[in-house]
Amino acid sequence: MTGRLLPSGEAALLVECDSLDEVLALHDALAADPRPGLVELVPAARTILVAVDPERLPLESAETWVRRVQGATTSAGADRRGPVDDEAIVRVMYDGDDLDETAARLGWSAESLVARHSAARWRVAFGGFAPGFGYLVSDDWPFEVPRLDAPRTRVPAGAVALAGAFSGVYPRESPGGWRLIGRTDADLWNPDRADPALLAPGRRVRFEAVR
């Protein structure tokens, strides 16, 4: 793959990709072959920010590294499922306020939406909205639903939701415009934990229906 490298200050490069699949493939390829001095990779819907410590990894060297990995990566290799050994199970009570209407929009019953959502193999594509929030995608979920016309001023922590092609879980109470289909008591965000975000980019996720 190719893709522009855009300037982003003295300690980062912004890599532009043509699709989310390219983002996922390049993110995994870069993460599998890190350079000393790499601070972090911040994926988003069409970009990856490559943040470096320029004293240990000069921007020119980072650029060469990204170019080389891009050249050896194809988006066909995009893995929307993430590494098998890194799977989070999120137990969901599917009783969200928007469940029936969202199912109706997709032409399904609520039971059918629950069955498909909990059968799909998800992967955290990127984060960004709040600490611990992940945008989840799945090859088993080629469906899209619009955001709510009027966002809620208060969405409770643990709300499981859909918007666009993504699913997500609100790690804490916040405003939000996603469609609520259920709730979980999973510990999504815990700064005292070595791995503070349950839904960290790259992780595989399955939702399990509970009653």
Binding site: P7, S8, V42, P43, A44, G128, G132
Partner: protein, 287 residues
Amino acid sequence: MRRLIIEAVGPLALVEDLGRPGLAHLGVAGSGALDRGAARLANRLVGNPDGAAILEVLVGGLRARVVGGGTWFAVAGAWGPITLDGRPVAPYTAARAPDGAVLELGTAERGLRYALAVRGGIDEPPVLGSRSRDTLAGLGPEPVRPGRELVIGDEPEASVPALDQEAAFAPPDETVTLALRPGPRADWFTDAARAALFETPWRVSERADRVGVRLVGPELGRRAVGELASEATVPGSIQVSGDGQPTILLADRPVTGGYPVIAIVAAASLDAVAQLRPGQELRFRHA
């Protein structure tokens, strides 16, 4: 145990260190002292490591009593009246506060944010490896209020250095010029907009905090109408909202933004943004 007992607070006083880098992929911004140079300087003046936690005091109005033993302290960043038991203390200089002394930071005359370091640092519990308050994410030590007791850490190995005041430059109160690097989305803007960014004076609006500083000036027009998918930003990113007005994103910004970034404030100019006062004029030059 030595402590600072907070008796009065102005608009805002926060515990900050050099932040928590490397967690943007989990939705956590770097946060940390907005004027990092001031935090480092204040720490060095009292022999602390650069990353010791300081108090970032917005505008002034802080009164604190030292208890449990005396301590060295230093104030950098904003320039204003500092007193110890009512007697003036020089800024940008280490001074010794005896047990029971009352330290006061008056209203800043230059700049906006004081960095108050105490020898040993402020020892609040770290969150994700940092004692910084992130005002947007709500992480780190709670904003400081009257009655709060802040524990002072153990004395560092290094002694209080014999530094003179030569490093002291009060923040400018006239037009400030900031160096800019190209932004990732400069090509989203018209040639006229890119020229106007550098050729016209800008003014700091009232909407200025640790998340970002919104500027007032000519409308920066876009070349093409389009929606940008949200992407990661860095401190100093100048994003331009739909109404054509720029905002300099700072330490507590959201880690991704959906507005195009026209330029990025060079690292060497970023600390100056922390000291800009609402209404102050600024100009941009190429880094």
